[in-house]
Amino acid sequence: MLSLQRNVALGALALTIALAVLGAFVPEWILYTCALVLAKGLVVLGLCLLLRMNLVSFGQGLYYCAGAYICGLVSQMGISDAFFLTFLAALGSAVVGLILGLFLSGYRSVFFAMFNLALSMILYGVLLKSISLGGSDGVGVAAPTYLGYAPDGEMRLYVFFVFALAVAGASSVFAFLYTKSEMGLASASVKDCEIRLEYLGLSVRYLIIFNFVIASTLAGIGGALVAMVSGHIIPELAYWTTSGEFVFITVLSGPNGILSAFGATAVFETIRLVAGQNMPNSWQMLLGSFLLLSILFMPNGISGLFRRAKAPKPDAVGEGINND
């Protein structure tokens, strides 16, 4: 286990550094999209953890938006340190996730999806009415600083990209190790048979809450990153179609991947950027068809493709054996 941890950490570090170097040679408009992908990929990563338990949240925008607003509002008070803001957003959304998770852990399937949706729509409604928080027009977010270092114009986006890369890298390592841990392995079998888990002495409710808190924390971090990179946040981050978008990407990614969460986000963002530009009246149709085809031909998403190629026999994580 220890060597696994070390190998994964080293691998992630190498990948992060490689990407950071690569980022220096990429034009800025791609870099911005890359930063968005890292931020949204974190939300998707959290949803993947839930999808492993066969839970789909149509309200993940709630934590995403909460993280973004925590980051934005604190930055307006003059605190602009990216590390501190990200930590605060993570903490805040974890607390919200814990409180709501206590209630939500009793729900499954469509009811889980819809309860989450209702909660995120309440936040949306409250934000629209909060004129002091900018109402529907939203609030601006100050440019982040890094432990006292304030990059100027040209460097700002690149430095942020490296920061986001580090955060995403660390979160991915954590998520990967978590899925290989006892808790993580137990969680993956919630979807197969809850009663068997209870019989083994594990609390399904506790497992769900635990994963839910991780997912909401990741969504909160993603929200904080989005707030910092775009410099402006709006209540629409909590609107149900934002959450629907995340679910879309999660399905594309499949439950079992870490890198695929970011890969699927990149695919989604690319389609939207290119198609949105060239065919404004039919890009939704393209996305919809893409979703249908990927559900049809890649039941386990992008992650499923790679697994099948590498390991024909289902491994310990239980590569989504189609038993439903």
């Binding site: 529907s136 027009d137 939203g138 402006h232 946040i233 934002t242 963002e269 939704q284």
Partner: protein, 440 residues
């Protein structure tokens, strides 16, 4: 009154056209191979596409084609495109929220390498894009977005708005109501639950309180955007029986409200006054209730001034698209003409080269130019925010011509309904419009 304003418009027009002619003579035409690449952004999908986005883009395309062909009448006759450079356009959809807009904005600037961008109707989008424009040092000229926040909370170098914001629209309406409804004693608000609705109601009710302290507010409703069903809200208004109902609804919501409130006799019982209902009049036609007071956020559409430029645009648009031009296209071409003026002033200064963003931005500040909606002056927000006159009228069905007319129109001069430079609009209204120059 009308004649006086038209006279003023003429004088302003003459000044502007003289300036432009001077500019045409002085500036050597830029290198013929150079083009000016212009990004046009507006809603091509979603609820605002039908009300504003698509008509705006249509108007923009018409104007760009006419500019490239040199067909625009005085004061723009004789100068092709922007300072002799043909304009090349790239259209972008504004749907998707602030994050997507920033992404597309960067894409336009850094990949497509446009020379400037005009457009944006959503306030949230404008607020999000403004800092990025400054960061990338690229001129962006907003066409819509009602919020006064952009230049009141921040200052930007490369960001301009060549159209009105919610304050002047609603202050003009308050003036009109104060004058036309001397017996009104009570008012209620019926505005959408988002910033445009909230800001409009705030500006209108504050302004009305200043002008007519005797009018009491008896209720305020904020229906959800896109709700579509207003039966319950209309009954609340019927029960409250206010003398005046203020509404800044637009698009499909406004149309649904008009269709539902008519049979419920709301318009018989109370005067419903609209900030911007002008844009649905041509399409709803005889379904528009008689006697609605409405503006269109400027002297636009059927309220356009009687100038060669306005008449040309109004009829060219109707010829091409079979429907009269409403406020969206008027605001959008106003933005393009503002940019054209700035580019040409900048070329005059730099000896006729294609101007840089810095040069365009410097030339744009405090510029004034003529538009189909009358003269526009970049007078406030430190030269970044336009002021223009506004017109309010009352709807009347003309069966012979088969279209809705606006009658009893009053024009309000720009200086009457806008705060002076450097004054916050909300404070300005609360203090009783200090410095306002109203001529009636």
């Amino acid at each position: 009154m009308l004649r006086k304003i038209t006279g003023q418009v003429r004088v302003g027009l003459r000044a502007v056209s003289l300036a432009t002619i001077a500019c045409v003579c002085a500036a050597p035409i830029a290198n013929a191979e150079e083009t000016f690449k212009l990004g046009l952004v507006n809603f091509l999908s979603g609820p605002a596409a039908d009300a504003f986005g698509v008509p705006s883009m249509n108007g923009g395309e018409l104007m760009v084609e006419a500019l490239n062909a040199g067909e625009v009448p005085e004061p723009y006759a004789g100068m092709i495109g922007f300072g002799g450079m043909p304009i090349e356009i790239i259209k972008v959809d504004e749907t998707g929220g602030a994050q997507v807009q920033i992404q597309r904005f960067r894409d336009l600037v850094q990949r497509e390498e446009v020379d400037a961008i005009v457009g944006y109707d959503g306030s949230g989008d404008c607020l999000a894009v403004a800092p990025i424009a400054d960061e990338l040092k690229k001129v962006v000229v907003f066409s819509g977005c009602g919020t006064p926040r952009i230049f009141e909370e921040n200052s930007y170098e490369y960001v301009f708005r060549a159209g009105s914001h919610s304050t002047m629209d609603n202050v003009a309406l308050a003036h009109y109501v104060a004058r036309k409804l001397p017996d009104a004693k009570t008012v209620a608000g019926f505005n959408q639950n988002y910033s445009w609705g909230q800001d409009s109601w705030r500006d209108f009710s504050l302004a009305l309180k200043e002008l007519r302290p005797d009018i009491e507010t008896v209720g305020e409703l904020f229906p959800e955007t896109g709700a579509g069903q207003y039966g319950a809200q209309i009954n609340v208004l019927m029960r409250l029986k206010p003398d005046v109902v203020h509404s800044s609804l637009w698009g499909g919501d406004l149309e649904a409200f008009l269709l539902q409130a008519g049979p419920r006799k709301l318009f018989d019982r109370t005067n419903v006054v609209f900030t911007m209902a002008e844009h649905v009049l041509p399409r709803l036609g005889d379904k528009v209730p008689e006697g609605l007071m409405t503006g269109g956020r400027g002297a636009v559409g059927a309220l356009h001034p009687d100038t060669p430029l306005a008449n040309w645009f109004y009829s060219a648009y109707e010829d091409k698209y079979d429907i009269p031009a409403v406020q969206g296209p008027f605001r959008f071409v106003q933005t393009i003409l503002g940019l054209k003026t700035a580019v040409e002033i900048a070329m005059q200064e730099n000896g006729g080269k294609k101007p840089t963003s810095e040069e365009i931005a410097a030339a744009f500040k405090f510029a004034s130019f003529d538009t189909p909606s009358g003269p526009v002056e970049m007078a406030i927000g430190d030269g970044h925010q336009a002021i223009q006159g506004n017109a309010i009228g009352i709807s009347k069905w003309n069966a012979q011509e088969n279209r809705v007319e606006l009658v009893d129109v009053e024009y309000f001069s720009a200086k009457c309904i806008n705060p002076p430079n450097g004054v916050m609009s909300e404070e300005w209204i609360k203090e009783g419009f200090p410095g306002a120059e109203c001529d009636n």
